[in-house]
């Protein structure tokens, strides 16, 4: 088994599919409900298969923070309204193969959007660093 991080972005990544271009507040309330319900179903299905580890959504605004020396408060920078890349949330899965990780990501990306059509939203899939092998 290997762990993968599925990252959903508010912004960034390749050119969005046309289905993913409309802002959510321009959908109907029913379309929003159907979308949220689908996302929940994906997590439930992954749980059912014993592959779900964790999933969380992130607020759109955050800041960069760093150390500024002994006795000084942390330095902050941001939030950057124009930053090219913005992470919206993540899901961690533990699966048998890279192919299975991609299949799960594609399933998540098929969530319905405006007019009930699949969003085809881009998800970034990142493998976790593993443990060194026991037997070489």
């Amino acid at each position: 088994m290997a762990k993968y991080l599925l990252l959903k972005h508010y912004r960034g990544g390749p050119q969005p599919h046309p289905n993913a271009e409309t802002q959510m507040d321009q959908w109907t309330p029913e379309e929003i409900s159907a979308h949220i319900e689908f996302m929940g179903k994906v997590a439930d299905d992954l749980r059912e298969r014993g592959e779900f580890v964790d999933g969380q959504a992130l607020a759109p605004e955050g800041e960069f923070v760093r150390y500024d020396g002994e006795g000084r408060p942390p330095v902050t920078d941001g939030p950057f309204a124009e930053s090219k890349d913005l992470i919206a949330g993540w899901m961690v899965i533990d699966v048998d193969s890279k192919e299975r990780a991609y299949e799960a990501a594609a399933y998540l990306s098929s969530a319905p959007g405006k007019d009930g059509k699949p969003l085809h939203e881009w998800l970034e899939v990142r493998p976790f660093m593993g443990e060194p092998p026991v037997v070489e």
Binding site: D25, Q26, T28, P29, I32, S33, I36, A57, P60
Partner: protein, 394 residues
């Protein structure tokens, strides 16, 4: 094993007995947890006839064992090493004593809630960890740190009831907000129900304090609506849109009764005032029949009782919007800090009532971007979507 609910009721009593016998709080709490674990492991056939006496005996033995196995110096410090005969003190009500220790002002609210759930609520560390979505080791550490903060303090006199009420209020709020219609993100411990159970115990032990009864009433009057707070799809439903036939009438009746008795004592406090507002909402057969003028009077009381609280001012603006018109409400909202959570959502609500649907939709979408939870974000997005659709294909 002994019935789990009974065990959890017995937890604070056993802890109270140990503390009264001279055990320090942290060691006594560990000993009671060990005794609970032993109770759970016992085969049903060996269930004791007198669970409370059994639990106290086992917990006391665990306490002494732990003391004996620690250093000799610690042993000398044990005030009482032989089990004293049960005395009248053991029948005394330790609820406030224990709660005020767990809700000590030296602890952060998160630590106080966790410690209260374990020491008085009788929940396991694993259950508490699941309720807060943190690893069990993290929660165990949070509880140990809280106990270290309290270590060494012998306590014979109960502390401040206000601090206890505050922690129980936050516990309820966490449980109520964290519960989702889809049943995800919640462990097996229902913190809202747990807060009600503990506040009930507290209110019984301080019958002279109308704020304890007021807080219990407040919790019941909100909890009564929980089945209607989410629709079939699991999305949040605003108070005005809830199916009121799904409200728990018996719970509302109990809350109203408690509140009336508390108010009759003529010592008003913030929890009684908030409960009165909740009771007026619960009392309306439909959203249109809500007695907004009376709600506004209670908000005026609340502003007097809790001055400089922008959240109260924001909620009062909604009542003003219903009584004096949405524009009057909006004028109050505009005086508040733009960064105040839920300010945009309230402004959107009032703009819609004033007939400005485009501005309402814009503000709902803005509120969704800043929403503090995914349930609220979805709800606010749907409000924006509803207004955008009804504006006719713009």
């Amino acid at each position: 094993m002994i019935d789990e609910h009974l065990l959890r009721d017995l937890t604070p009593r056993a802890l109270g007995v140990l503390v009264r016998r001279g055990a320090d709080f942290a060691s006594a709490e560990d000993a009671v947890q060990d005794a609970l674990a032993e109770a759970v492991r016992r085969p049903p056939a060996e269930a004791p006839d007198e669970p409370q006496a059994w639990l106290v005996t086992v917990a006391w033995r665990k306490f002494l064992d732990a003391r004996r196995s620690s250093s000799a110096r610690a042993l000398r410090e044990v005030a009482v090493t032989r089990e004293p005969p049960p005395g009248p003190a053991e029948q005394a009500d330790d609820t406030l004593l224990l709660l005020s220790r767990c809700c000590h002002p030296a602890l952060t609210p998160a630590s106080a809630i966790a410690l209260t759930l374990r020491a008085v609520g009788g929940l396991t560390t694993a259950q508490i960890a699941r309720a807060f979505l943190v690893p069990e080791a993290t929660m165990a550490q949070r509880i140990s740190r809280a106990k270290r903060t309290l270590a060494g303090e012998r306590f014979a006199r109960p502390g401040d009831v206000r601090a206890v009420l505050r922690v129980l209020y936050l516990m309820f709020d966490h449980g109520f907000a964290g519960a989702t219609g889809r049943g995800r993100n919640v462990g097996d411990a229902d913190l809202a129900a747990e807060a009600i159970r503990l506040t009930r115990q507290l209110a019984a032990s301080v019958p002279h304090d109308p704020e304890a009864a007021g807080l219990l009433a407040l919790m019941l009057l909100h909890h009564a609506r929980r089945a209607a707070r989410f629709d079939a799809a699991g999305d949040l439903v605003a108070l005005a849109d809830q199916d009121r036939s799904r409200w728990d009438e018996a719970m509302i009746a109990e809350g109203v009764d408690l509140l009336q008795h508390a108010l009759a004592r003529d010592r008003l406090g913030e929890y009684q005032a908030q409960a009165a507002i909740a009771a007026l909402h619960d009392d309306a057969a439909s959203a249109d029949q809500t007695d907004w003028p009376q709600i506004l009077e209670w908000y005026d009381e609340l502003v007097r009782l809790v001055p400089d609280n922008p959240v109260v001012v924001l909620n009062r603006a909604v009542a003003v919007g219903h009584v004096d018109g949405p524009l009057a409400g909006l004028r109050l909202v505009e005086e508040l800090d733009p960064g105040l959570p839920r300010r945009d959502a309230v402004a959107a609500y009032l703009h819609e009532r004033a007939g400005d649907r485009a501005e309402a939709a814009r503000l709902y979408a803005a509120a969704a971007r800043d929403a503090p939870s995914t349930a609220e974000r979805t709800h606010l997005l749907k409000q924006a979507a509803r207004l955008n659709r009804n504006r006719g294909g713009q």
